[in-house]
Symmetry: C2
Subunit: 273 residues, 2 copies
């Protein structure tokens, strides 16, 4: 069965989008479509240009016998900015305020399209970083972690606060919550993380950074490395923050329970680009 | 800026894949590319044929002024079968056996590409069902729920076993675990689910069905409806199952702890298609 160029372009686009950060050889496509490598190469040039012009991502071509093409998600600043602004608007809504000054974020984290976009932004920011695995702590960070990991083509490991029989043997650490100063426990299944892994830590919310710091301690137990830290919302804290180098989309600068006012601004996303 | 057909095909493919189950008008594309509606219509015919031939999905075209095009993921039996067989092989591995006859599934649920495929299969099976929201219970079902919900373009609501201040007011129910016969609690944030919602329940594992049954009781409290139930693995139980109508990919037919043997077979996925 022979394929016309138009059919190849559609199917290749789908294939590349479904296999981010994977090197696909020209021969693979040539065989799949029964086409000459030169035709495939021309197809890829068109896809590359369109992906870059339309802000879909980057197509990296590696020459030589072991070469091929690799798709990498990459969000332009002009697409990222309005999305982060929209996020800020969403988080500012006064009806999010819960007793004690907490914010209701469940609807935001339940919005699958929004979660995907956050994942895309994070993956885009860490496009040039070597990452083997994404780590998060149950429960709220999970959707974000999977969204990022999907675009980075790496697995997710989930840290828990309680031990479950289905995890097998675990490694646990105690850590001090940065804001409440209470001692807490977190644990990770022993066989879920390989030694030497480069880990991107993802979470929905960071206050003083105690939880993220706990995950960093846990990584040390596994002889694994922090490759990066990404949070959806950081809260501006008067007190010392336990974590320095992180990426955030939104910064919560103030919560006035009495006046029912939530003040937010953009996080540091664009500072680091 | 004018677009060539090849560029349009690539960008439209990306757009449709990113917006499943959303009606996109021809005018939207026509404006986006500065092209005549007739050209867009031709483009969509090519995309539709390719999507169907390559097992990417279905493109539904709705005629008239309010018309447009809608992409829906649809996995062919010839693509689904080898994947489910692969899943069975993976689950059968004897080193998954944990003390007490439990299975270690963390690696499977941490494999983002695999989770996406499971989501695709579930979404494909419920393509013709009206679904407003996907529901799961923390923690293991969450990645699967998001993967399905993404393809169905609906939000996710997460049932919890413990109350968290960040959820606001909640509705809780008690239920009896089908296998251990213990009374347990689950709760859902009051404002996370609208009355009358049609809900697809998703979970990673179903034994007697107590947890799924608990979620059904919770839905009753919200005056919401069960639109479907999908589980990754069902365990064959000698005793009565609490839930009848569900979809499963893999059936665990036996676990022999002494001989370190796990017996699995295909679930009922193809029975219902």
């Amino acid at each position: 069965m022979k394929f016309r160029r138009s059919e190849r372009l559609i199917d290749m686009t789908n294939y590349l989008l479904e296999h981010p950060r994977q090197l696909v050889s020209l021969s693979y496509f040539a065989e799949k479509y029964g086409s000459a490598k030169s035709s495939i190469s021309e197809d890829l040039t068109i896809i590359k240009e369109t992906f870059e012009q339309r802000g879909i991502g980057i197509l990296q071509t590696l020459p030589g016998a072991a070469g091929g093409v690799k798709y990498q998600v990459k969000v332009n600043e002009q697409d990222a900015k309005p999305f982060i602004e929209e996020l800020c608007e969403l988080i500012m809504k006064p009806d999010r305020l819960l007793p004690g000054g907490y914010l209701y974020m469940t609807d935001i984290l339940g919005d699958t399209a929004l979660v995907q976009k956050v994942g895309k932004l994070f993956a885009s920011a860490f496009a040039d970083t070597n990452i083997d695995v994404v780590m998060t702590v149950a429960t709220k960070g999970i959707p974000l972690a999977y969204a990022v990991a999907n675009y980075l083509n790496v697995p997710v490991v989930m840290v828990r606060r309680d031990s479950k029989v289905t995890e097998g043997s675990t490694v646990s650490i105690n850590y001090v919550s940065g804001s409440t100063k209470r001692i807490q426990t977190m644990l990770l299944s022993k066989r879920s993380l390989e030694e030497g892994s480069r880990v991107l830590i993802v979470d929905d919310f960071m206050k003083a950074g105690g939880t993220v710091n706990g995950m960093i301690s846990l990584l040390e137990e596994f002889n694994a490395y922090v490759a990066g830290i990404a949070v959806l919302v950081e809260a501006e804290e008067a007190e010392e923050r336990l974590v320095d180098d992180y990426l955030s989309l939104v910064k919560l600068s103030g919560v006035d329970v009495k006046e029912k006012r939530i003040s937010v601004e953009m996080g540091n996303y664009f500072d680091q680009q």
